[in-house]
């Protein structure tokens, strides 16, 4: 199947949506489909063969972080050309409510379209104002997917209608088999944090304020921090004794991210909000590392309300410290949590997730394909239905003419 994927966020800047689109495209290739990804980026950028750049993206603030997005006439022209050249069986846009390529692609598209909603956004005045513009564009989507319950709720509240739930995928085996970084985890105990530590909703400050009590109760504990940001600013005011225990890795590659997750005894996710799913939690779970996370909705759901990982009240550094100390002292509990997490993460394995997404493609584009090549799976007993659907689609095409009192093409057939 030819699938046109649209990622509205710039490929070179790591992020949840980008990673999702990349993994999905690679899974689709492995399953024998032909995906093409349209994404912001320069023509001379070093991109995989299946990626088509749509021009330079402009950094703008959107939904609480800085995102790089494409808009304007040149982008719209490129989108049209990509759609025409691609001749896709199905168009799959991501985050179509964000101002960018996905929106432009839907605007120009007229075939079957699937949309995945990733983020949870609190209702804003801007969204309410944009509603009349957004609605006719979103209406073109035949199948809506939400990656989490929070994303689905956002969709229901902002745009009406419903979506089916297909969670974010995680390449479980890649994380489970990663080699820990040399010298880690430290026998004295290691905590891990990953994310932009200068962005307040990632909650690094909550962890930072918990470090002093943790080190008092469990001396020698080391903290492994990975992610982009200004280290000096983030550690401002931290006493030198605590600072010595912190190792900053800076921005890490995907391979090192998996190794980093395998290098810690407890992975800490102190995010204070704005998370819709928590892909990083599933990655830590896949790596077999026990997770300690804030009890925001998305995290509580992924961690099965505390059965597959420990939770602490959102924003509460003292509670984080108490839980971290308890976990560092209790090897058995860590093992139990890791085991439960490995079991729980299976539903997020890319193999499962990609199969479900392909089922969506087949549901929206299926009739046409089944009729064309007698697809083995769909053909079982449904050939009459497929034949019926073809005539029905023909009838709809003609409804435009009937509205103006003209005989439809179908009526003229013998």
């Amino acid at each position: 199947m030819r699938v046109g994927l649209v990622c509205p966020y710039s490929w070179e800047h790591p992020g949840g949506v980008q990673a999702h689109v990349r993994d999905l495209a690679e899974m689709l290739i492995a399953l024998g489909h032909e995906p093409s990804v349209l994404t912001p980026g320069d023509d001379d950028a070093n991109l995989p063969a299946y990626v088509v750049p749509a021009g330079r993206a402009v950094p703008v603030r959107y939904n609480g972080s800085v995102a790089r997005l494409n808009f304007g006439l040149i982008s719209a022209t490129r989108v049209r050309r990509w759609l025409r050249d691609g001749a896709f069986d199905v168009l799959h846009v991501h985050e179509p409510a964000a101002p960018g390529l996905s929106m432009l692609a839907l605007w120009a598209a007229d075939g079957p379209a699937v949309a995945t909603f990733h983020s949870s956004i609190t209702r804003s005045r801007a969204m309410a104002a944009a509603y009349p513009i957004l609605q006719p564009i979103i209406e073109k989507v035949s199948a809506r997917i939400a990656v989490s319950e929070a994303a689905r709720r956002t969709l229901v509240e902002h745009l009406g209608g419903d979506a089916i739930l297909i969670p974010n995928g995680v390449a479980v085996s890649r994380f489970a088999s990663a080699e820990p970084l040399p010298g880690w985890p430290d026998p004295a105990g290691t905590l891990g944090f990953l994310g932009r530590f200068d962005e307040s909703r990632k909650g690094f400050a909550v962890l930072r304020d918990a470090l002093a009590p943790i080190l008092t109760a469990h001396p020698g504990t080391r903290i492994l921090v990975a992610g982009p940001g200004d280290a000096e600013e983030a550690l401002d005011g931290v006493p030198p004794a605590v600072r010595d225990q912190i190792t900053m890795l800076g921005m890490v590659s995907d391979v090192d991210k998996a190794r980093m997750l395998r290098s810690v005894d407890v992975y800490v996710a102190p995010n204070t909000g704005g998370e819709s799913f928590g892909i990083i939690l599933t990655e830590a779970m896949a790596a077999g590392t026990p997770v300690l996370a804030s009890d925001i909705d998305a995290f509580a759901r992924v961690l099965d309300d505390g059965k597959a990982g420990a939770l602490f009240p959102n924003g509460d550094s003292a509670a984080l410290a108490a839980e971290a100390i308890a976990l560092l002292h209790d090897n058995d509990r860590r093992d139990r949590l890791a085991e439960a997490a490995r079991e729980a993460v299976r539903q997020y394995d890319w193999e499962t997730v990609a199969a479900d997404i392909v089922a969506v493609y087949e549901t929206v584009a299926g009739q046409r394909l089944n009729a064309a090549n007698g697809d083995a799976q769909g053909a079982r007993g449904s050939s009459s239905a497929a034949a019926r659907s073809v005539t029905e689609v023909g009838a709809v095409r003609d409804s435009r003419w009937r509205r103006f009192g003209l005989p439809s093409l179908g009526d003229r057939r013998p």
Binding site: E139, E362, V364, Q377, R380, G381, S389, E392, V396, R403
Partner: protein, 181 residues
């Protein structure tokens, strides 16, 4: 303001109104097409599910009583007239749950030749019914929202296309199938 100025403004207003009407008519046309498409996709998935259910019922993998129950439900779902379709498909969902949620039943089928394939087919078909129905009802909601607009009613923009209705049924798949997907 001269008469000429006024007539220019009036023509501009009429032109804008015409463009708006044309865009709305197009939008509605697209929505009607989407509803018809999603409905036929749902039909196809329902037929597929009843076929697999029938295949399972006649495979001799189940005990005779369960087989009969399931075959009956599958037949009824296929032959139901349009106004009883939702009820008949719901009964099939219940029959499938009754047949497959019995502890140990699935393991027994899995152990036979051809069993695992049938179960996999059934899991896929059940999942697709849930999807197709969600997509269809979504299209119906969007279409009805636009058809409620005053401009659509006053200018008869929906033509003679019937008001679409959602498809309400119990589509809960057997819990034991979750792992087979």
């Amino acid at each position: 303001m001269t008469v000429g100025d006024a007539s220019i403004w009036i023509s501009v207003a009429i032109l804008l109104a015409a463009v708006y009407l044309w865009l709305t008519a197009n939008r509605l046309d697209r929505l009607h097409a989407r509803v018809e498409g999603s409905r036929s996709a749902l039909d196809a998935q329902l037929v597929r599910r009843s076929s697999v259910a029938l295949e399972l019922a006649t495979s001799q993998l189940l005990d005779p009583a369960t087989s009969l129950l399931l075959a009956e439900a599958a037949h009824e779902a296929r032959d139901a007239p349009e106004d009883e379709r939702e009820l008949a498909e719901s009964s099939l969902s219940r029959a499938l749950r009754a047949a497959l949620e019995e502890p140990g039943q699935l393991d027994e089928i899995d152990a036979t030749t051809g069993g695992p394939e049938l179960i996999k087919d059934l899991a896929a078909a059940s999942r697709r019914v849930v999807m197709a129905r969600r997509f269809h009802n979504d299209a119906v909601t969007a279409t009805r929202a636009v058809r409620r607009k005053r401009v659509v009613r006053w200018f008869g923009l929906s033509g003679r296309a019937p008001l679409p209705t959602s498809f309400e049924m119990d589509d809960e798949p057997p819990k034991s199938l979750g792992a087979a997907l």
